[in-house]
């Protein structure tokens, strides 16, 4: 595995909860209805009247040690050596949803064909995809307040990002997982 991997950084203090990233992803990738590769979820902090809200914008974290790969029975999920991007081969996926159960962020999505789909950082390199080492993908560049960053980072930094996202994600409560 390469020493540097692509990773998202979410700056919670910049997020205004507009959901622009979520819909930018859908239109730019032509995603099926009912499926979200990126979600903005609400987090409640405190209790009335000392309560406030924040949010996290979450997509596949392309984990340094992906749980989804461990549980996949058909080997459909892989982590690319060169840059750490986690990719799914839909031809091999049987739609058993074990990856969904294993994912700490509940990222894997299942569209009309029943196979798993998710964020590929717009970097899967499949035919027709321009390189985007210069600029950011739609979710990042649409953000009015620059709350998302995508960059190459050492594995240690990436692990920190994953840990931070887990904290955000676990703060979100039952009201928002509907």
């Amino acid at each position: 595995m390469s020493a540097e991997q692509w990773g998202f950084i979410f700056k919670q203090e910049n997020c205004i909860q507009c959901h622009g990233c979520e819909v930018a992803c859908k239109t730019w990738r032509g995603i099926d209805l009912g499926v979200s590769w990126r979600r903005v979820i609400n987090i409640w902090n405190g209790e009335y009247p000392h309560i406030t809200c924040s949010s996290t914008s979450i997509s596949c974290m392309h984990c340094s040690e992906p749980y989804c790969i461990d549980v996949c029975t058909t080997g459909a999920i892989s982590k690319r050596d060169t840059d750490g991007i986690v990719l799914v081969d839909t031809k091999q996926c049987v739609g058993c949803r074990a990856c969904y159960d294993a994912c700490p962020y509940k990222v894997p999505q299942f569209g009309l064909d029943g196979t798993m789909q998710k964020c590929d950082m717009c970097l899967s390199g499949k035919p027709g995809i321009p390189d985007f080492t210069q600029n950011a993908p739609p979710c990042v560049s649409t953000c009015p307040t620059k709350a998302l960053v995508l960059k190459k980072m050492p594995a240690s930094e990436k692990k920190e990002m994953e840990k931070a996202m887990k904290v955000f994600f676990n703060q979100s409560d039952e009201y928002q997982h509907v």
Partner: protein, 748 residues
Amino acid sequence: MTKQPGQAFKNCALTFDEARAMARKNGEKVVPTFCAMCGPNPTCGVYAFVKNGRFTRVAGMMESPINKGGVCPKGHAAPQWVYSPDRLKKPLLRKGDKNEGLFQEIPWDEAISIIADRLQQQKKQYGPESLAILAPAHRSYSNLIRRFLVVHGSPNYGHSGICYVQKEFAFTYTIGCQPRCDYKHADLIILWGRQPIYSGPAMGAVRSLVAAKQRGAKIVAIKPSVEPDVGVGDIWVPLRPGTDAALALSMLNVIVEENLIDAQFVETWCHGYQQLQEHIRKYPPEWGEQITGVPAGQIREIARLYATTKAATIDLGNGVEHAPSSNDAIRSVAILMAITGHLDRPGGNLLGGGKSGMPRPKTVHLPGSYTQEMIDKLVGPEFPRNFQPFWGGTSSSYYRILNSVLTENPYPIRTIISPGTQPTVSMRGSKRIVEALKKVDFYVVLDVTRTADMNYADIILPVSTPYETDHPFESKGNWIMARNKVIEPLADYKSIYEFFLDLGVQMGYGGDFWHGSIADYQNYQLSPFDLTIERLRKHPTGLTFKTEGTARTYENYSRVFQRRSAALSREPYLPQGKVAIYNTIFEREGFNPLPEWREPPESITGTPELTKKYPLILSDYHTSKAYSAAWQRNVPYLRELQPFPMLHIHPETAAVRGIKNNDWIIVESPHGWMKVKAELYPGIRPDTVMILHGWWQGCRELGFDDTPLLDGGANVNNMYSVDGEKAFDPLITAMSSQTLVEVRKYEC
């Protein structure tokens, strides 16, 4: 939208060169234009991509000084709106009875001549004032509506009476103008009944707010429930809906009693402080707590914090324009700004904007044409006649126009034109509105998609989306840009602009309507720029003017406090040339010279006898992350963000009623009932429930049906009082959006 698996692009915020390069690579066309997915004066710049003649997606325009490349969810969902199965396709003429839904397709020319004939005949028989055009929010075409009405001779421009102009009125008659907020220099920002995030998230206000937060400014949010702006904030002041006036009066009480005023400013620039000192004793924070539900201690804390922070600004939102005490709420806030020395000082509330350095397009709304006769003929003045014309011209209140059809007092409106507005879901008193639409002689609807009340229309006109037309140009701040056509119209469409020009010509008013030429119309507006629309179009990302070098000046009191009013009398807004704490104009016209408290038609403190049956307060949200007012529920990517009408209810309030998250529930007020879903929402007052307004439309792609407009649907405007004595602010219309309700689980 076609799925293109695995396909990705490097960026969706682009410069024009990058956008062109990307389009070339992908065999697409790119068109620089404006986003058209939100309300008044939409001016975010976008690049629209077209593949094989189909509009597919947008990228934010880096060159636009308005959005600087950012685009919100509504903006990205535009193609689904354009290609929606809900689009109207042909002009329609009603065949069956009203609400039967039977129409016949007719050509545009025929539709326009039917309308023109009817207007000519009614003008002869009933006078030109028998025509009213509804214009709830100020959009780019609103000035054409004003022009058409003036040329026709009708004063009845139908403003909602609940949006922006109410603040404009109360502020202007108290401190000379509606002030701007100096986010850039403020150490304290009070967002009051304001939602800066859902109202244009990609625009400057949000960037300024986040920047202020990051440089350490303290942010206070005053509103009944937690929204994203509370998330950015430090202090939440959860007041009961519609009680802003009481909160402001109690804050004034604290500031006056504790003498936290700018004595020199008060002495030099305020009229009536002594009367206020006496008057405000009635409103201590303990009184305020009873009305607003905000603890007296917190009222004191906020008042002191505001008065003692030198650079403190209040950003007052549309939330305060929806209560019978609205005028007094707004002017109390204006007085707060004045007596604490926060007016037109760095970090405070500024009187007038900085100089943009750009000329302003020539206006088309004929403001000098109003006569006393026209004012006398207003069917239901938004502001009393002696204050007319006010903002851009004369106006009747939207509701009173419809109500006149039923009461025939002082006369019935005979033709109502609704360009881009849906009275049954956007105006209070839906049951009355439906009756009025059934009865009105002639009702014309213009819209992009099906509307809630089009089945009551005599003529329905399908208009182009702004992505299917090349006008109008837009300008904001120091930026002006031509609109470009992204795709050819998908059906037999005209724009609203073409409609008013064509109708003008057909009515014989061609000389006033550029003989139907959209190019001449735009060139007329562009004359101060020494530009034609064709020459402007040669600048694909528009022209950005340099701001004038001179630094802005502060304390422009002598200039602003002398402004002449727009009313026919042209008397100054502030007769003493000072802040009107004691308002002698209001007094002369028979209104309170000093701000007072006035209860909503139904409330916990105003009608305690109702609270046994209806113990909770209901109000509604004006804006949302996914939708603009009552539109766009049909857009799948947006509907996925907010699929159901959800009533926000505190978990404890829900628990005692056996209501769980996502349960279907019945919400009942003295005026109607809704069937909606419960969202257990810890960030709302436990005595209050709230819901987004504007629900009726289904989304075919996602399998959602339309819901009823009246009882049993999810239309919150069906829930409120429209009592002529209680539901309106006596001076500025400001209809109440508060009532009392009970909530119970829906049993099928």
